[in-house]
Amino acid sequence: MRDTQSLFEELFLPHLDDAYNLARWILERDQDAQDVVQEAYVRALKGFKGFRGTNPRAWLLTIVRNTAYSWTRKYPSNVISFDEGVHTAPTEQPLSESFHEERKRQLYEALSRLSVDFREVLLLYEIEGWSYKQIASTLKVPVGTVMSRLSRARRRLQQELARVQETAVKNEL
């Protein structure tokens, strides 16, 4: 017997990792991301009757995104905005850490300094491989906005990474 519940689970549980990844990219904190994912699944379940689409993954991720944004409005301190978060104190790393690990850590820090809008387009376009059009319809903005936001995000990321590396070099001296 294939009831609606098992259909729901079959369609949406396989995308749990993607849902969590998106929430984590937006909110950064593990606990917040977990809470948002849980809430998003409940919302999805409630809205499931209205789901007529062919792409459950995109549908779910849109709900995750909206839930995450309501979350940031409810708890605004959790989101790093455009101007804040630039002056984070560098964390001390053990000397034995490999070069690659160190670069990776720097990348994470640079990403966390970006505004959430920028992180989001980077994730959706570069990592998830969505098209401009898909992103535009999920974000409810024109395609041109997606393209320019992505350009600025890439540029900003490289600038932030350069800054993070500069600080790291200064600390070593």
């Binding site: 009831d3 990844n21 849980q38 379940l45 409630k46 990348l107 994470y108 350009s151």
Partner: protein, 251 residues
């Protein structure tokens, strides 16, 4: 096209996918300017580094269990929007009513459930299929259950008392998937069956079934049945240790 403009374009595209008209201009500039060529190379390198190193977070087994439990609970609470045929709902209703009646008619189900547990325990040994997840680490076994079932049983390791955790499997007792945690004790095995309480509390019991020794009890959260080898050696000791442990480390 000057250096500054080229530099900006390269950064904004990660060095890829310039549109045709700009590409000619940028390529023209790059052929003349070695400094910008190295910037272009850096941008491409950065992109592959970014793609390889950007975080891809995975949901923990705990989150998986939590989400599953929440959506099932939500459905039970609100009545799930149905696409199923009405007769299915009627049939499901009848099944639930029948199950409730049986539970009410036979409130002390300890012995019957113990019989089923003994059957599963002895079968797992004769079929040499003790565990689905073989690990002596409770931090492996517990999340494994959380991912398989809609709950995580308490898993404790009691090596100093001679009960070595072997792992876990999912058993089915009266059509209900339950957690079976398996220990080795001397030359025999002890299986602890556990499932969340759902109105049907198992009473405290002490049975001897087909030569196996069985203890049953329930806490606020879970029902427990422990089955041990034929001579019943160590069963009471195990149950005492297990319950002590749960009391000092609330589940």
């Amino acid at each position: 096209m000057n250096c500054e403009e080229t530099h900006r374009l390269l950064e904004e595209t990660f060095g890829t996918e310039l549109d045709a008209s700009l590409r000619l201009e940028v390529e023209g500039h790059l052929s003349r300017c070695s400094k910008c060529r190295s910037v272009a190379r850096e941008c491409l390198e950065f992109r592959s580094f970014f793609l390889a190193s950007a975080p891809r977070y995975k949901a923990s087994p705990q989150l998986r269990a939590r989400v599953l439990a929440t959506i099932r609970l939500e459905r039970a609470k609100r009545g799930f929007p149905r696409r199923a045929q009405p007769w299915l709902c009627v049939a499901a209703g009848l099944v639930i009513a029948l199950a409730l009646t049986l539970t009410l008619l036979y409130p002390d189900n300890g012995k019957e459930l113990s019989g089923l547990a003994v059957l599963d325990h002895s079968r797992s040994i004769s079929a040499n299929h003790l565990v689905d997840v073989a690990s002596g680490d409770q931090h492996v076994v517990k999340p494994w259950f959380a991912a398989k079932l809609d709950f995580a049983p308490p898993v404790v390791d009691l090596p100093s008392a001679g009960f070595a955790l072997l792992g876990g499997r999912v058993a089915v007792i009266r059509n209900r998937p339950v957690a079976a945690v398996v220990y080795r004790h001397k030359k025999g095995f002890v299986t602890l069956f556990c499932w969340p309480v759902n109105k049907d509390l198992v009473s405290d019991g002490d049975y001897s079934i087909d030569g196996y020794k069985v203890r049953t009890w329930s806490s606020a959260e879970c029902n427990y049945i422990v089955v041990s080898e034929r001579n019943g050696r160590g069963l009471n000791e195990f149950v005492d240790l297990f319950r002590d442990h749960l009391q000092s480390n609330p589940y």
